[in-house]
Symmetry: D2
Subunit: 146 residues, 4 copies
Amino acid sequence: MTVADIFNEIPFAKHLGIEVTEAADGHAEAHLELEAEHSSNPATMIGHGGVTYSLADTVGGAAVVSLTEDVAPTIDMRMDYLAPVTEDIHAVADVVRDGGSMAVVEVEVYDTGETHVATAHAVYKTSGQGAENAWRSENDPRDGAD
Amino acid sequence: MTVADIFNEIPFAKHLGIEVTEAADGHAEAHLELEAEHSSNPATMIGHGGVTYSLADTVGGAAVVSLTEDVAPTIDMRMDYLAPVTEDIHAVADVVRDGGSMAVVEVEVYDTGETHVATAHAVYKTSGQGAENAWRSENDPRDGAD
Amino acid sequence: MTVADIFNEIPFAKHLGIEVTEAADGHAEAHLELEAEHSSNPATMIGHGGVTYSLADTVGGAAVVSLTEDVAPTIDMRMDYLAPVTEDIHAVADVVRDGGSMAVVEVEVYDTGETHVATAHAVYKTSGQGAENAWRSENDPRDGAD
Amino acid sequence: MTVADIFNEIPFAKHLGIEVTEAADGHAEAHLELEAEHSSNPATMIGHGGVTYSLADTVGGAAVVSLTEDVAPTIDMRMDYLAPVTEDIHAVADVVRDGGSMAVVEVEVYDTGETHVATAHAVYKTSGQGAENAWRSENDPRDGAD
């Protein structure tokens, strides 16, 4: 099971239609098809800021896990919105600092026409998860997966 | 139609089960019942960072709109995660700077047991939306609403 | 030597006139007298954003070190400016999450009249500094200090 | 008087030794020579986070003013630290969103050896400064300057 596969089994990623297509060596990519339920407005289709953020947070985590092979909870993320989202979006994440116990990730989000719709920086915790690590619990149906 | 009503009609807020219960004078409150589809992990229930963020972004927008009575797109938001989300959450937002063309909002998120699970600061654009303002378009079914 | 004393020996803190007055149990306080060289404008006195930030970063670090008794490099900080700085400022920092390998800190900055001029959230690295820890090097004139 | 000249007259920029070398069309560059007073540590030379931030905030402002030709107060800035600063640093800023009443800026900071030491995103207010605009006051010694 690849890191991308693991992220594609995250219930919330599935709920939003997020698909991680690549995750290796601190780099990850993902996309999302914009659907009616993603809108921030009942009268028109403009993606909600939480949709773009959820894509970024997910792909950022995948970039980190592709390096660390352990769960990596988000400590903080800041997103700057650059243009309204009115079509499908895809995101690219890169670990720009692997600091041992935490990683800093940069995420860029684009729409189909390659308009740069958002940019984000995040910090993920990368070690000492210990008991928090449900991914490796005895009850994990994906046991031995990654 | 109240500001809370308007936010409760946002398709993405409905999709996540976000309910805004109060929005007046730059202050807003909202909550979300944690469901299986909100999890960041197929093996256990830990709310995805994007769920908490979406609640915060929504209630923050409601706080701003309760002051400005116009659409208020998010310019940026930073969320710090303080504890894992394992139960229902609620959020409180306050405008801490109303700067004419933008507003700064502080959002605090708590779980049922009042554990402080996240804190966020955001900037929203608050004027000159002009043509972007679909809420007041001729086609708006909620015409004259707020 | 107290944690406050250690921070008051930081060359850059001295250069700006930052004084840490309290640092214990994850809480710290500091102030700065606004001088001509702090201005962002040659024609009038408005404190530069970097002055307020430097005060916040310093007092935030002191709050962390008061818990961990080890160096705590800043991983990231976000500052929101709420009002122009035209007089002396003081800041209050509290650790809101002590996450083992990192700490999240909240900092509020006020002027003499108690106007809330800025708010910040930051993440500091709190362990595994190893060789980076110049504070405990053999050459440290403050050897055995804290 | 160029935008770079204006920024080089900012008292706090002078106090830190920040020099803006370029500012045009939403792009700006600046550098700073690391001096003893910039250190975050009395025992060794590691630049204080506030020094790097002050450089970024200044060059970011210059990028905005090069587009708007009006004062542009910082609304918020987030800085992520990627590596310790132990030598001279330089920064590059670009406006990535010019939103009418506000601008989003991206700043990258490097040391002499081109190590990427910090990255930042900021929002600046870009219009309606009106009475706040001391730069164009009657008492401004640089009257008619830019």
